[in-house]
Each structure stands twice: as structure tokens, then as C-alpha cells.
Symmetry: C3
Subunit: 432 residues, 3 copies
């Protein structure tokens, strides 16, 4: 389904407490967040008047949102979507959330022109989503805003909400709602774990692969954007990046960020690398090879290779094979894979476009390299067929890049520094 929003992609969903007790300025955290720029600034910033803010501070938090967003919102480079309180099981909480929306969106308070929408946590079945949508409509109507102009994002943190996503496509467009305002579907794994009553021995969060799949699919079917929940272990940068890679293979390209440091990682991670690299599957572990003068070198202990005349002895893990040169090449080709750079992807796309222009529907894209294991060098070459479908599937990271480039001028300098101006220019042009 067509996406109705300015942003086609959202890499980062950054929450800040709206009111902190015991500070001179209770709005300190959102005031600081509003000043973020470039890679530190998220695609979507969420002044969080729910879980990040103590219940007793939430009225003050709503006022702080008004103060900070009316002052600084106009210069903020990303979108702004405050999170208000909501709960499928509590009419009190829902009414409080409605009142906060009414206040924050009041044009007399000066913030609403910089506010793109609201985030609704703890939703239940689709009828609960409709209650929230109806409050958006009333708020818009009361304040003379266009119907549907405020985007609605939800946190998926119950089994009921997970089931509701599949209905969105059918419900959107019905005359009695304005669900076309739906924007982000954001997983909230901590509360989801509670709702599902899951237990792990260490108390760590389960991986919930099916939830993430269903959120990504729900977003695809309803023209929304899928975002993964918070990654608590802020210290663990590698784990955070690993999670993003896993999410991306599910079509979930956005993730929650808890700190500006996580924002930088999450803004950068889905973009193709500057430099291509070769990986080798070393007995179940993927190892990146080191380039030395154009040769890609494996220097771990999990793979060993000996040459004896025409014969090669290859040992991977505990398994040893004696091979001739061709068999060795074939075996290493199976273990090796290439991670293309931004430039490589642009090259392949341009090559395919030229072939299509000339009337050819499919071409082979070849990646060749010399690998070195235990001093023995082996040439491998990997062919991949590209047709229209491959081309379009490969295009996703480039389309993402182009969406970033168009909507985030504050990141142009950092992108140019990352890739070089030349690659940036080619990447913004290709495929259009």
C-alpha cells in the first residue's frame, strides 16, 4: 500500500523524558534533545510523556513539550511525535492522554505547527486503535486542523495489538475513521514480554522473531513504517548493530534509540558501507577478511589450507578434504560472500539499467577476488544474475539513502565525509 507520509523511511525513533524531577529545569532532557543535529538527530524524535516520565510529572511534561517544541521545534531536523499516555484496559489513562493531546495541539500554545503526530502506547485490538484515532479527529476538529493531518503511531506491546496490525489494511479508508493517519508501528518488547508472560532464565528479553516479522508485514500491507523497540544494553554497541542487521533482513529498517550515541549508530547502520568486503564462513562464524595489497586474507584458526603440488588440503572446523584446484575454488566460493559498497550497488544498478535500455532483461554481475589462507592464494569469482526483480530488491538501500538525503540536509556534510562527494552524487541520481 502506498505510504502517505513525507518520510518513506524512518531509521531512528529517539525518546526523551519530558519532565525530570529534582532538576532546576525539569525540561532539561527534551531541551537538550531538541538541539541535536546531523547524525545525532533522529528521523523521529519522541518527547516521551509516558514510561520515560514519572506519572506525577506528566502534566508538567505536557507543558514542557509545548514550551520546548514551540521554541525549538521549527529548527529541529527530524519529525516530532510526542508520546502520550494510553492503555487498552484503562479509560482513566485514555482520557488523560486525550487531554494532553488537546493541550499540546492547541494552536494558541504555539507548538502544533512543529508537531507531526502523536505516539500511542499500549494499544489493544483494532477497536482500541479506533478510539485513539477518534480523539485525533476531535483534536483536529476542535483546533481547526485538517482531518488526518496529525500522524498516529502505535507501540505494539500486547498480543492483541499484534493481531490488530493484520486488520489495518481492511479498516483504513472506511468512512467512520481516519486511520489513514497511521505512520509508525513500533514494537515494545519489554511490555510485550510482560503481556505474553514470557520467562527467560537470565531475565533478558526473548528475541520475538515472529512479532518483528508480523510488524514488518503489517507495515508493508498498510503503508506504514516498522520500527523495533529499545535495546537496553547501551554499552553493547556491537549487539545493537547485530540486532539492526537482523531486523533489516525482516524489512524492519527503523529502531528505537535511547541515547544520541545509539541514534548515530542507528542512523548509520542501514546505509551501505563505504568499502566493499569479503566474508568467509569459518565453520559457522562469519569472518571479515583483511585486505592486503588487493588480496583478501583469512588469518584465523578455524580454516586451514595446505598446498602440495596440484593437491590442496582444506580443513574447516574438524572436517578435512583433499581437493584439486577447481574443487578448492568451488569450495571457497561456497564459503565466501561479498558485501557490496554503496558504490558497488550504484555500479550494478547502472549496469542493469544500461542493459535494460539495450533490450536485455537479465545480466550477470561478477565479483572476483584473490583469497589467501595460510599463505596459499586462490582466485574465486562469484556470478549473480540480475533481472528486474533483483534490481528492484537491491534498490532498497539506495532508495533509503535518497530519502535520507532529501529529508535530512543537516546530514549532508557527514554523508559526504563518509562516502566522498562523488559517490553521494551518483547515489542520489541512480534509479530515478
Amino acid at each position: 500500500m502506498e505510504r502517505r507520509h513525507t518520510r518513506k523511511f524512518v531509521r531512528t525513533f529517539f525518546t526523551s523524558p519530558t519532565a525530570v524531577e529534582g532538576e532546576d529545569d525539569s525540561a532539561k532532557m527534551i531541551r537538550r534533545a531538541a538541539d541535536l543535529r546531523g547524525m545525532q538527530a533522529p528521523d523521529v524524535w519522541v518527547p516521551d510523556n509516558e514510561d520515560a516520565t514519572a506519572p506525577s510529572m506528566r502534566d508538567e511534561g505536557a507543558q514542557n513539550i509545548i514550551d520546548v517544541v514551540s521554541e525549538k521545534g521549527g529548527d529541529f531536523p527530524g519529525e516530532i511525535h510526542p508520546r502520550i499516555v494510553w492503555h487498552r484496559d484503562s479509560p482513566t489513562t485514555r482520557y488523560q492522554g486525550f487531554q494532553h493531546m488537546l493541550t499540546i495541539a492547541d494552536p494558541d500554545n504555539g507548538a502544533v505547527e512543529n508537531i507531526d503526530g502523536f505516539v500511542i502506547p499500549e494499544v489493544g485490538g483494532i477497536d482500541d486503535w479506533k478510539k485513539a484515532d477518534e480523539f485525533f479527529t476531535i483534536v483536529e476538529n476542535e483546533h481547526g486542523l485538517d482531518e488526518g493531518s496529525l500522524a498516529m503511531s502505535v507501540i505494539i506491546e500486547s498480543g492483541a495489538a499484534e493481531l490488530a496490525m493484520r486488520k489495518l489494511r481492511d479498516e483504513m479508508g472506511k468512512p467512520d475513521n481516519n486511520l489513514e493517519r497511521m505512520f509508525l508501528l513500533v514494537d515494545g518488547e519489554v511490555d510485550y514480554t510482560k503481556d505474553m508472560r514470557a520467562i527467560t532464565p537470565t531475565g533478558g528479553l526473548p528475541p520475538w522473531p515472529e512479532l518483528r516479522h508480523n510488524t514488518s508485514r503489517g507495515a508493508s500491507a498498510a503503508g506504514c513504517i516498522a520500527v523495533d523497540g529499545p535495546y537496553d544494553d547501551i554499552r553493547d554497541v556491537e549487539g545493537y548493530n547485530e540486532r539492526m542487521k537482523n531486523n533489516q533482513a525482516k524489512g524492519m529498517l527503523g529502531i528505537w534509540s535511547l541515547t544520541p550515541g545509539q541514534v548515530v549508530e542507528a542512523n548509520t547502520n542501514p546505509l551501505p558501507p563505504k568499502t566493499g568486503s569479503w566474508l568467509l564462513d569459518a565453520d559457522g562464524r562469519e569472518v571479515e577478511l583483511t585486505e592486503e595489497d588487493g588480496v583478501f586474507v583469512y588469518d584465523g584458526d578455524r580454516i586451514s589450507l595446505e598446498e602440495d603440488g596440484d593437491e590442496y588440503t582444506l580443513t574447516v572446523g574438524g572436517d578435512t578434504q583433499t581437493l584439486d584446484e577447481e574443487e578448492l575454488q568451488s569450495e571457497l566460493l561456497d564459503l565466501a560472500s561479498y558485501v557490496p559498497s554503496m558504490d558497488d550497488i550504484v555500479d550494478s544498478m547502472a549496469e542493469f539499467e544500461a542493459a535494460k535500455e539495450a533490450g536485455t532483461g537479465a545480466i550477470a554481475i561478477t565479483r572476483a577476488a584473490t583469497l589467501r589462507v595460510d599463505g596459499v592464494e586462490v582466485d574465486i569469482a562469484n556470478d549473480r544474475m540480475w533481472d528486474e526483480a533483483t534490481y528492484q530488491a537491491a534498490q532498497t538501500p539506495i532508495t533509503l539513502f535518497q530519502d535520507v538525503y532529501e529529508n535530512r540536509p543537516d546530514q549532508h556534510d557527514e554523508l559526504a565525509e563518509m562516502y566522498g562527494a562523488d559517490v553521494v552524487e551518483r547515489a542520489t541520481d541512480v534509479g530515478n
Copy 2:
């Protein structure tokens, strides 16, 4: 959705054949099962008049249920839910199941006051569930029982039934059914495998992770309880416990048991351990460290560590790194994880409750330990942020324990022996 049943959790679902041919007393198996007490007695006992009993013995089986449950059911410590025959594709079978329900639930036969509900196997789409529900209603009406007083549990053993679960939340509460009686959603993987026409080389059951996720989610969305199917290899206690751990990370806290020995394992497994322990990820395999005088020792071959002045050489699998002390600590912290004891969980909950009382919304819970690898000792400390959501998610095993404690007085002695009276008392008090 709110759970409407006495038990909030069901750990064990134990089936017994209702009538065995060639025995003096064909009711021998259920007579013996009705005498089980303590950890050997399941939360839900299922006199099984379907697959466990030969087709020719099922009328006798229904009579045996009446005889045994009317005599011994009042003293049985768990709930009693006989399984009757049913099949989405066979009206003959459905009518036979209805007749057995009518007889077993007849108050003149003396069993129904000890019967909590019935288990319906082989259901199809939601309309098939409604046919069974209607028979419950007629049985209740004929026998002067309250509408909805007999719980209905189903075995999910077809793709159609898997799909039906997502509709339950929408259908419950409609005036033409009494589906609020729904209690357990139980996976039946053998027949499900047949229905899905899956093949494995060894003939073993596929793991069906998506089915188990969907059952757990369906239970969460409809206020039911999710239970996994039978684990055939009775000899393999380790595998059974492994399966339960995997299920628990999906929110499926109950499992089928085929023997009193399996009941003991399944009643015990979801409860937190008596003693905390440290695990180390040794090149992909989680190894529990041995405590020696307060130091946690790794003595396998997958990780090795050498100290040379300020420098450490750490080898995990085939990968060797040279690290300073701080890097080593960080590396081992990544590999280590702590499994909290019941007492640890209660401590953390009490600590958070006190902080919340004092107006603090989030605290760090620290776990510190000295690890020893190849004689080298390293101190590590693991901080975890706890906020309201973490607190509530961590509470699940304690709530489970409290549900067990309240509903299963016959297990009090064994629980006191497992944990000590002091820990039991703290665990029953915390969080209320």
C-alpha cells in the same frame, strides 16, 4: 484480556487412558492417576477418552471417568478436564463426543461437581469451535448447570485451528455463543504435522516455532492459557526441560505430560531456581560455571586465558585476542550472564518497590562476580536498569509461583523443601 479462570497459570496437562483393554480393572490408569499428589499431580488432569484410549473402549472409558471422578475427584489437587472425541471433518465423531459429555456431566452420575471442563481435540475453524461450545451450553442447560460453568479447552492440531485462534478475541462475548468458557489452547504437534503434511528425514517432529508463538499470542489476546503438546521421548529428561525453556521464552508456560515423572519436571521447571548461577557463552555453547569458594570457574576447553604482566591472551573457539585488563573484563562480561535465584528476583523486586516508593522511577541492579579461567581470576560486574516495565516483566515467575502456592496446597511441603520456608514466605508476599 482478563483471565476468567481460577488458575492464572497451568504448568502441566497430564493425560491418562480412560479404559485399557485386557486389564482386570479397565479404569486402572485413571484410578492410579487420581491418587497423584504434590509435584507428581498435574495442574490439569485429563482423563483421555480420545487418542490414548482405543476406539472400541471409549463408551467404557466414559463410564470409567464417571466412576473414578465421582469417587476420587473431590480429593484431587488439580483441575479435572476429560478429553472427549471430536473431529472437524466427522459429524459422527462430534455427535459421539456430545453424548459422552452429556453422560459424564449428568449430576445423577455424581462426577460433574469434580469436573472443571472438557478438552476438545481436532477442532477446525472458529465455526467448528462454536459447534462444540453450543454442545457445552446444551449440556449445561439440560443438567441445570450455570451457562459457561464448564471450561472448554481445545487441541490445536490443524492449520485451520491455528488460524481460528486469532478470531477468538473478536468472537467472545457475542450473544450467540458462550466462548468466554475458553480455557486452554493446547498444541498437538503430531496431528498438526500430519495436517500440515510435513516431512523430516528421521520422522521426528518439526519444532514448529511459529505455531507455538501463535498459540501463545492467541492465549494472550483472548485471556486463555497456552500449553505445548506431548514430548514423546520420555527417556530424554534434558530435552524435555530444554523444550520448556524454549516455550517459556515464547510465553507458553504449560506443557503436556505423559508420565508422573514428566509431571514433576514440568511442575518444577518454570519456577525460579533455588540458587543463582553464572553462564558463559563458550563459542556458541552456554556453559554453567562451577562455584568454588565464591569464585565461578570455567574448566572446559573452548575458552582459554593466559596472563602475561598487564596483558591477557583470550582464545574463544578459534579466535585469539590480546587484551588489557579492562578490555578483558568487557569481553568476559559480554560472554557471561547471570541466572537469578528466586531469592534474587524477590530482592530486586523489593529494591525497586522501595525506590519507587521514594519517588525514583528507575534503578540499576548490579550483579558482580569473580570468574576464573585457566587459573586467571577476573572481576566482572553487570548493571541492569530496572523501570516499571522491567519490574512487571520480571514479575511473571513470581506471579506464577504465587498462583501455584495459592491453588496447590498439596505442594507446599515440597516447595518449602526446595526453597526454604523463608524464601517461600518472601516470594508469596512480594509484589502484592
Copy 3:
């Protein structure tokens, strides 16, 4: 749900370009494909007038289908289901597809008597499926064919289509459609990856396990047949077979084939092996043991075993245990598994049938073997309980074989050569 089609199983879905530019005979590829016989001929052959054929060649492609199928279709041993163009987002494309269907199915053109149905790519929600179904109905009506006589298969290559599958069971049988014509649900992972906007570092396809589960479940619930998408790396025969094994554990027994070589693999893979074999789980990798004079030998480096009097030292990966004989047997039994041959399965089925006849509901099937590791021989014996459900679940590969045998006489010779005439005869008789 009951399957309404001649074939209960489809192993192979083979696509061929309908019109190739720059050839003397643009129909060359389908002309050649129409001549395939035996294991090289697919269960379902798909002259592909969509992605495999250039857009400019598709009118010629439709004509080529008519020419080749009217001439050679009568002798083709599999079913014939041309793929036409379709897109959920393009009425132009849908109308073009309709026109091609009208022409190809025109009895005056002589092809339709050999055509079993059409394949519709790029479907969206269920209402989009209904649009296609309506065109089938109009085509049938215009040409005097029975309503519902042309089967409809779809390619699942969008989140919306994935969601639609769960509705099929509810929609079939409604008076305003003829969706009972539904036949194959075929995953199309390249376009699905694009639609879901997934990214992988290497550009390879994500594994999409949830999609494949949902397709298999959708097929089970609606009486259709599930087929996996193309496996691009034609060179990688091992990977293709690995994928099929993975699919089969999900109940997805069919797969796309891009070459006659892949057709042979995919026609053969789901059939039980000629010879049984023992596998050993060698530290996470399954290794097939080599038979030497009735003893099954492990000769890798991942497991080692030493005998010292009554004591055995077993090392698996880095973990060493000292065991007595019984413990060693139990440990090896846990690591070992048996892959039964066609003959073994038939034996077990016959054994269970005889027991059932004699009034026994469950029997133990024992597999015994002598294993040899590092020269030490150990006897193990594996018992498995068979009851009615086990019997029926184990029957799937035999039912598949029988379906092949009945519908593909052109494969009889190859099957007799694979298994021997005796085994083939027993396998066609058992279970009926």
C-alpha cells in the same frame, strides 16, 4: 480442508520463458520444455509470460503458448499452468493479463484442453484475488468451459498477499466467487523482499521462515498446495536440497525449479531414500556415518572416544566426559538418529497395521545399530512409540509417493530403478 484437485502433491513448479528475443524460433524454450519426460519433467509446468519474458515479447509469448501447448500439451506428463501478467497496483497490467487468458483459453485456438489453469503473480489483498477469480469465471463462461474448471494459482510476493491467505478458507464457497478453483500458493521471495523493503549485507535473500510457515498453513487450511520460490544459485545443488529439507519440515513440499536439473533434484528430494542411514550430531553438525560390514563408522575429528577397561572417555567438541558402558550408550543414543529408507517406512506401517488389526493401539519400533568411533564399537538401540497419530504423520512421504506413482507413469521406470520393483510395489500397496 479437502483438496479438490487431481494432484494431492506438487513437487515441482518449472517456469520457462514464453518468447525469447533474437532467436529464430522465439518459442524455443517452451518448445524444448514441452518435450521433458520422466524425472526431468515437472509436476506443474509454467510457461511464464511474466517475469521470465521481456515486456515487449508478451503478446508473442501468449501466441507461443497457444502454438506449443496445442501441439505438444496432450503428451506432456505434468499439468500445464501458464503464468500471465497481473499487478495489485496496476489496472493496465490486470487487463492485459485478462486478455491473454481470454486468448489462450479460447477453444478455437486448440490449447485450452491441455491447460489446467493459470498462475497469477503479484496479487494483493483477498479482494484482488477475487478480481482475478472473476476474470477466470468470465473466461470460462465466454468459452463454454465449466465454472471453476480452470485452476488458479497465485504468487505470494507482498505482505498484503501473505495476509490474504488466512482469509481463503472463509471466502471459498461464497456465492459471489469461485475461489474453490484455488490450487497452488507459491512464495516469490525476490519480489516479497522488495515489497517488505528488506536489506541484507550481501544482497542475498533473507530466509523468510515465517512467510513459508504462513503459506504452508494457508494451504493446509484451504485445501491448496504450498510451493516455495526460486533458488537462484543454480550451481549450488547442495543448498537447493538443504532448502527443500527445511521446507518439508514446514509442510511445504513443492519448490520452484529454474532448470531441468533443478527439476530432477526437486522431483527426487521429497521421496524417502533407497537406503536407511545413521546420523551423528558431531558438536552441532550432523554427520552421516559410513557403513562398513554392518558397522556405522564415524571418522571425523569432532568426536573422539577412548576405551580403558570398563571406562570410556568421550570428547564432543571441547567437552570431555568419563562414562561407563551404559552411560556411553545413552550419550551416543542422544547424538545418533536414524533416517529410515522407503522400505523401513513401509515395514513400520505394515507392522503397525498388523498390531492395530490385532487390537493393539501402540507399538514400539526399534532401530538398533553398532557404531564405531576411533575403533571403539558401541551398540545402541532406539525405541520409538507408534500410535495412530504417529502412523498417520509418518505416512505423508508414502502418500506423496503414491500420488506420484498414480499421476506420473512416465516416472515409473526411474522409480523402479531407484528403489527396485519390489519396494515400489510394497510402497504403492501399503496404507490403502
